[in-house]
């Protein structure tokens, strides 16, 4: 069975991950809705995961995939806590527009 990296090459995966990461950065800067910013963070995490799996295949080493597994656990914890905080904010302010969260500005 032929491996996918023999046909495509690691460079294509590097470019794909970089562009996916940049879309995540763009989403963080472009939107004001806090939930969509969370989704952008998920996109950035997925770009890093994809590159970890690609290099794990390149070196034929399973440790990269183990780290992807841990990243998924951390991402699940992060989303649970973050959405709980957003619900609490929505209950207090009535909106999750990040431009309204400036009580600390003084």
């Amino acid at each position: 069975m032929e491996q996918v990296l023999q046909i495509i090459g690691i460079e294509q995966y590097i470019y794909l991950s970089v562009i996916l990461f940049c879309i995540g950065v763009f989403g963080i800067l472009y939107r004001r809705n806090a939930i969509v910013m969370f989704m952008s963070i998920e996109i950035m995490l997925n770009a890093a995961n994809l590159l970890l799996v690609a290099f794990s295949n390149y070196h034929e080493d399973a440790q990269g995939q183990v780290f992807v597994f841990f990243t998924m656990a951390v991402a699940a914890a992060e989303v649970a806590i973050g959405l709980a905080i957003l619900v609490a904010i929505y209950r207090h302010i009535g909106s999750i527009d990040i431009d309204k969260l400036k009580n600390l500005k003084g």
Binding site: I43, V53, A62, Q63, V66, M72, I85
Partner: protein, 168 residues
């Protein structure tokens, strides 16, 4: 064949990720994000790493997206009343997108590889059996720590989102 599949999956990943960012309605963003996650799981399946493909679909498309859709519907955000950012912020966002991409691509494209060339040895390194042995032999302590982290996250989420009786 694999090449065509790779390009279709890549176009699907990038396009749906971009639609996630620019959709006005948060529910549409969530649906596009599900498409993006499924195509990334397709990339993992293309790498022949079955365990990660399955776990990715279960965790991201199953758990995380349900949580996000539930929160969106709880907050009644499906009417898109979001005021968009001023024009100067949008221009700066596009410029930052281009600059980050340019810097990362140009720096990563110029690096010399540590391993000279990729050569498939046919060794089994990513079946569920091998991954389970590595996870429970070399990475036992981080594995247990991940369990404690998830427990803490669960307790914290319940505590934070609980109704505060003193203020209401």
């Amino acid at each position: 064949m694999i090449e065509i599949l790779f390009y279709i999956l890549s176009a699907l990943t990038l396009g749906s990720a971009f639609m996630t960012v620019i959709s006005k309605n948060p529910i549409h963003s969530a649906i596009w994000l599900v498409v993006s996650f499924f195509s990334i799981a397709g990339h993992y399946a293309l790498f022949n790493s079955q365990f990660l493909a399955m776990v990715h679909i279960i965790v991201y498309s199953g758990a995380i997206m349900i949580l996000m859709l539930f929160t969106i519907m709880l907050m009644n955000l499906n009417i898109s009343n979001e005021i968009s950012k001023p024009m100067i912020t949008k221009i700066i966002a596009v410029v930052c997108f281009g600059l980050v991409g340019l810097v990362l691509i140009s720096s990563l494209a110029q690096t010399a590889p540590v391993v000279d060339a990729y050569a498939a040895t046919g060794k089994d390194y990513q079946s569920i059996e091998v991954l389970g042995k590595i996870l429970l032999n070399e990475f036992t302590v981080p594995f247990e720590m991940a369990a404690i982290l998830l427990l803490m996250a669960m307790i914290g989420a319940v505590l934070i989102s609980k109704k505060d009786k003193t203020t209401t």
